[in-house]
Symmetry: C2
Subunit: 220 residues, 2 copies
């Protein structure tokens, strides 16, 4: 019985790592959709979200079963509850990728991103991928030390977003109201994607150490 139990606990972690993999794919394809007005990439992100949601639900159900059947305490209980939180964050990361894909789809066949902002948005996409890859690694390795780095990694995303907004506010911006709205929201979605990756890492720290890395900013 204990063996199945520990297999079930391990399966929680495997599902979380799989969610990071899917969220990474989603944000990468969403960035392609946005920059290249690639409709099939956008559709792929939108329809692919169901799989992320399914994993989230599986984790919810499995956590409930584990708690009901095994009545875990201490470290194991913390692992299970923390998995619920991480799964919720990853599910929302998938949603943010979908929001970005939907901007691309709405503006197709045009690109929602004016040429002079492409490099910043590309960089935000890369940063988002980096954050979710790193979140997946720290979950897989239960690596609380590396997890603490994500907050600083995310500062780079915040700087990119500020840069994006400064460009819009600069004299000579002449892309009209729709582009202003789209770029504003896309910037917000990348920023939120990054924030949730930091939350995943913060939850991992708590899972492993029992200490919160800081008062987690659950700004969503």
């Amino acid at each position: 019985m204990r063996d199945t139990y520990h297999e079930d606990l391990d399966a929680l972690t495997e599902r979380l790592v799989e969610m990071t993999r899917l969220a990474r794919h989603a944000i990468a394809r969403a960035t392609t959709a946005l920059l290249d007005a690639d409709l099939s990439a956008a559709q792929e992100v939108i329809s692919g979200d169901a799989e992320i949601n399914r994993l989230n639900e599986e984790i919810d159900n499995s956590a409930f079963d584990l708690m009901a059947r095994q009545q875990p305490v201490a470290q194991d209980l913390r692992t299970i509850i923390t998995s619920l939180h991480m799964s919720g964050d990853l599910e929302r990361m998938g949603d943010h990728a979908v929001h970005i894909a939907k901007i691309a789809r709405r503006r197709h066949p045009d690109s929602a991103i004016p040429k002079e902002l492409r490099s910043i948005v590309l960089e935000m996409g890369h940063q988002a991928e980096l954050l979710v890859i790193k979140a997946g690694d720290v979950v897989f390795n239960r690596d609380a030390e590396t997890a603490l780095e994500l907050d600083a990694d995310d500062d780079r995303m915040d700087r990119l977003r500020r840069k994006l907004l400064e460009r819009i506010l600069r004299q000579g911006w002449e892309h009209g109201v729709e582009a202003t709205m789209d770029v504003t929201l896309a910037g917000r979605f990348y920023e939120r994607f990054g924030d949730h990756a930091v939350h995943v890492a913060d939850h991992l720290v708590y899972m492993v150490t029992g200490e919160r890395p800081k008062d987690i900013d659950t700004d969503a």
Copy 2:
């Protein structure tokens, strides 16, 4: 021992209801801050968020203790886990009120909302209050039937947001880039506030009935 246990379970609900009360106050004051460029209202929302976060943390800790000490099953376990989810949603509702307040603060002494959009934003604020009040009522009364109404109530919020965006996109909008960005984001924050109120109601349905009202759209 069972008595303390049930008191602790009831205390979870009381804290959740208190969170709805605080979130309602926050969104009401944030709307005032936004429409009247009221800096002290904005500051009140921003500093008041700590209390919402504190309750969220209390619920987390109390849920953990209850699970570790009492090893609840079935309905009680569902109540505890669902409380964690609802608390997370309410915490984010507080954050969205803070985001709105920060827009107001940044634009002070100007108002971020152009005159012709005031009535729509006011209506969004009222709708947000209505949703969180109703969410609080259904949690307090464990009223799964009324909880199912919130989804339709929230449609009104979504319509208001679309109306807001249509106004911005209409010919003759001449309020510039900063106003476009602020109104776009404020609209998004009200919409998200409403979505989280629906999530709270959906979680309550699950808590009471063990059935999900639908695949909950955890779009955050």
